[in-house]
Amino acid sequence: MLAIQTRNPGAVALRTIKIFVFLLCLLPFLLLVLAAFGIAGLSLGPNPVEALIHQTGLWGLRFLLITLAVTPLQRLSGFNWLVRLRRMLGLFAFFYVLTHFLSYALIDQRLEFGLIVEDIIERPFITLGVLGLLMLLPLALTSTNAMMRRLGRRWKQLHRMIYVIAIVGVWHFWWQVKQDILEPLIYAGILALLLGFRLWDRRRRTGQRRRHPAAYSASAVPGPGSGM
């Protein structure tokens, strides 16, 4: 572990990686915008509204899973610098989920408040979706360094809500599909793996701590959000 940690990129390299990842995360959005306006030979197909809502929703869900994949990847690879990308990935999840909701509210329902409220009350899959968005909101708002410092221990507790949000997101997708549940099933499977890893990792680490208490405390360098 220690040997690998020394290979962490320096400040400049990390900055470059962050910019690159940022642009990569923005790419699906840019392609969707180009397609929505028929630029560069792209199009959203015969049902553009459906395509836009579906694609932004899928990307929201994908970024939730990508965010949740950071900790397992870091643990398994020892690349601790991966954790430094997690906040940005999480914010992209929020960005795509918000775009998903706005596509629905602004473009599909054209901000007809009554219809949106009716949907939220009467259609359980929409209720779930809105619930997921509402739970994401405080996480996005408290993602700054200042908020992190201000909330201290409670910050970590609050941000564990992403587990619930991801479950709600997959559930929302599951209830939305007409008949073929294969795709939501795949997302559910990946989510189960990512959450299952955490349980397994915690048991493994408590076991280690019991066997080698000294070694464990030496390697456990507390860093921001390392518990997630």
Binding site: S43, L58, D108, P124, D180, E183, I186
Partner: protein, 339 residues
């Protein structure tokens, strides 16, 4: 199906086709040439299909994406009718690239991508049940005596989108009469081809294959019900249910069964595929009805395919706007319960 019967039909179909070839001179009319705008649109769609498919975790990779496939053959002697005059039909591209045909996959672009392997000639239709003239009929026997007509119908999908399609076909009522249903025939059951080697979507049990749909005999003999063989004056592309499909414009699209291989007259109400899949969501009647919502979404409005991204949805009409023609069929029916 007996071998001799098959041979007879095969020979007959060959004879017929030769005759048709002689009748139709190979002249390319200006209308047959895809205009540049349509061609470019198609290219755009194909590129997007690749782009969205690539972004799908489930990995519905684009199959045989051909840049510009030729359109289906023109049908001879199609009579124009007054149905749908004033409606603006969707483009050929929209109608043939955005389909629900789960036999080829559950994605809207899947039928367009994967229906190429469907063999539609020779095509046999088995007619059975409560009728005097049951038996095996070749495609040519089925359409033989009928005059093909073009009817522009609205199509309302249960998923709250709609299209306007210039179908080519003949009244189902005329076909039903030829089989002489008995007095015990209360329903007409239709079955789609069941062959996973041609229909890759059937390799997964998304629905209980084969696909089954049914109408009451009164519905089947209503003049609006159309046995359909083409669209835009051409033979049906595979993804639209070639070579023979039903079009029942006052019902949700899933009632308009595609690629029909069996017609059965029954006394008891058949259980349809969507009833079997989710009886609480899809009923036997499935009449378009803005007042009865699907349990998971509203049916009050619909999105017209081909409309601009920022276009508003339009109100859904009772019986999809065909109340005058079919309203009498449901006078005494509780449409909320019989959805």
């Amino acid at each position: 199906m007996s071998r001799s019967n098959t041979m007879k039909t095969l020979c007959r179909s060959h004879g017929k086709r030769r005759k048709m070839l002689i009748r139709k001179a190979p002249i390319i009319r200006p209308s047959e040439i895809t205009d540049e705008h349509t061609y470019l649109n198609r290219r755009q769609f194909l590129r997007l299909a690749g782009f969205t498919a690539a972004g799908t975790l489930a990995g519905s990779l684009p199959g045989a994406l051909v840049a510009a496939e030729p359109k289906a053959a023109l049908l001879p002697d199609v009579v124009k009718t007054g149905f749908g005059v004033g409606e603006t039909p969707n483009t050929y591209e929209d109608i043939t690239t955005y389909n629900n045909f789960y036999e080829f996959g559950t994605g809207k672009g899947d039928p367009y991508r994967y229906a190429g392997g469907l063999v539609t000639r020779p095509w046999q239709v088995s007619v059975s049940g409560e009728c005097e003239r049951s038996g095996e009929f070749g495609y040519e026997d089925i359409i033989g005596p009928h005059t093909l007509e073009e009817r522009i119908y609205r199509l309302r999908c249960v998923e709250a989108w709609s299209m306007v399609i210039p179908w080519v076909g003949f009244p189902l009522a005329d076909l039903v009469k030829r089989f002489k249903p008995t007095s015990r025939a209360k329903y007409v059951k239709f079955t789609t081809l069941d062959d996973p080697s041609q229909m890759p979507g059937q390799r997964r049990a998304v629905l209980d294959w084969p696909y089954v749909e049914a109408l009451t005999i009164a519905e089947a003999t209503n003049p609006l019900a159309l046995m359909t063989v083409g669209l835009y004056g051409r033979e049906l592309p595979n993804q639209n249910g070639a070579p023979l499909r039903l079009v029942v414009p006052w019902k949700y699209g899933f009632k308009s069964i595609k690629s029909v291989v069996a017609i059965e007259f029954t006394e008891k109400q058949p259980r349809t595929s969507w009833e079997k899949a989710a009886a609480s969501e899809y009923g036997f009647y499935a009449n378009v009805n803005p007042e009865v919502d699907h349990p998971r979404w509203s049916q009050a409005r619909e999105r017209r395919i081909g409309a601009d991204l920022f276009a508003a949805k339009q109100p859904t009409l009772m019986f999809n706007g065909y109340t005058e023609e079919v309203g009498y069929l449901y006078k005494d029916l509780d449409l909320r319960r019989n959805f």
